[in-house]
């Protein structure tokens, strides 16, 4: 998802027998659906895992602005430009809500930015694919934001208060993102043959990477099981992926587009769509930094941060100077 393969640093899921009395009391609060707040005692592994997860999520929102920002100047009309700008601005906002949530756990903003730039913390694999045509912007809103909603709605109920509250804000805004994407796709699919072909081409390129967003099957993963006990992961990757496929295939049918998967078929018995094998090699390559745009994305992020340094320094120097003047006058 926006946070993929988050490690807990633990070798096995913690049973009650492994826990100190304090840890047991903590688990009991989670089991009773009591929210954990920043000043509450928490196991170090819970804190570290959440920092990792929320941070990855925040970085994904920020890096996720790049593939779309790419199209702001080339959007086909003034209305589309304004809408896309509002959408990209929301993504910045989502990143900021999430950074704030992570900061309540005692990690500084500068540290998180430094970790991203040093490649120590990842962002979602999906943002390492290029946006070649305008239809890619429609497809991202429809599929990528659609997948994000699928993942983020359960997280509104997660055990850590600041993260849950950030997710509620994010989910309220995310629906606009998905609908503006679907609206772009509808317009293209009702347009000329070339426009429809463009929509199909974008779907062909984005479908599989969108399914990879949910991460590899994790039913047997210690980290996922532990995160589930801590209620910071509420559904398995495969459950979320299946829901996403079930919801999205009829939408593609409506658009008159076909999914690039010859194994895709409704399974009456299961009451779900069956779908083909995902190329997990591709996913792992992208995660390791060998996707089509990894280097470009990081280069752009680092450059933006470095080019903005003088603004941050000047604003701080001005604030300090003014505070000193006020103090002297008092």
């Amino acid at each position: 998802m926006y946070a993929q393969m988050v490690e807990t640093g633990l070798k096995k899921v913690q049973d009650l027998a492994d826990m100190t009395p304090q840890e047991r009391a903590f688990q009991a609060r989670i089991d009773a659906d009591v929210k954990i707040e920043p000043k509450d005692w928490m196991p170090e592994a819970y804190r570290r895992t959440l920092v990792r997860q929320i941070q990855q999520h925040a970085h994904s929102e920020i890096v996720g602005m790049l593939p779309e920002g790419n199209w702001i100047t080339r959007a086909p009309s003034l209305a589309r430009k304004a809408i896309l700008m509002a959408k990209v601005q929301d993504e910045a906002g989502h990143g900021l809500y999430l950074y704030c949530a992570a900061e309540t756990l005692g990690v500084s903003r500068d540290q998180m930015v430094a970790d991203l730039h040093a490649g120590k913390v990842k962002y979602s694999s999906i943002f390492n694919y290029p946006t070649l045509t305008w239809a890619d912007i429609g497809t991202i809103g429809w599929l990528v934001d659609g997948a994000a909603i699928m993942n983020q709605i359960p997280l509104c109920r997660c055990s850590f208060g600041p993260y849950a509250r950030a997710m509620i804000r994010v989910c309220k805004e995310e629906s606009f993102h998905q609908r503006q994407g679907f609206d772009i796709m509808m317009t293209l699919c009702r347009g000329t043959a070339e426009q429809k072909a463009m929509a199909q081409d974008a779907l062909d390129r984005w479908w599989w990477p969108s399914l990879m967003m949910f991460g590899p099957p994790d039913a047997a993963s210690v980290h996922s099981a532990q995160s589930a006990r801590w209620k910071i992961k509420l559904l398995s990757n495969d459950e979320l992926r299946q829901r996403f496929v079930d919801q999205t295939v009829p939408q593609a049918d409506y658009l008159g587009l076909r999914m690039p998967d010859r194994h895709l078929a409704w399974n009456e018995e299961r009451g779900h769509y069956d779908f083909g094998e995902i190329d997990w090699n591709e996913f792992h390559e992208v995660i390791k930094g060998h996707g089509p745009c990894n280097r470009d994305r990081m280069h752009t992020r680092v450059k933006a941060w470095e080019d903005g340094a003088w603004v941050r320094e000047a604003a701080m120097a001005y604030a300090e100077k003014r505070a000193a003047r006020e103090k002297a006058a008092a």
Binding site: Y97, R109, Y318, A319
Partner: protein
């Protein structure tokens, strides 16, 4: 690396006459910029008509460990709730 901008807590009052409510935090060099940034981060969809910001460092909070001694004294004073006093059916408007 330059010094990090200080952290501010943001409080927004919505249009419906409610009190300012904590919505989150952000970094800004001073109060003026904190209010401007809060507008962009927390009020993109008519969430409010008034913004307060306060330096996070200036906020003092009760400690979670003191929760019991702090709040228990009021828990046994159930007579503070009007439902403590049963009223006869036939008595109206009370």
């Amino acid at each position: 690396m330059s010094a990090e901008w200080p952290l501010w807590e943001v409080f927004i009052r919505s249009q419906h006459g409610l009190a300012h409510k904590h919505v989150g935090s952000l970094h800004a060099p001073d109060a003026e910029m904190a209010i401007r940034n809060a507008r962009d981060v927390y009020t993109r969809r008519n969430e409010g008509i008034s913004i307060w910001v306060a330096r996070s460092a200036d906020i003092h909070a009760s400690s979670p460990g003191d929760r019991a001694p702090l709040f228990e004294p009021s828990n046994d004073k159930v007579y503070r709730h009007p439902t403590f006093f049963p009223m006869p059916e036939e008595v109206k408007h009370i």
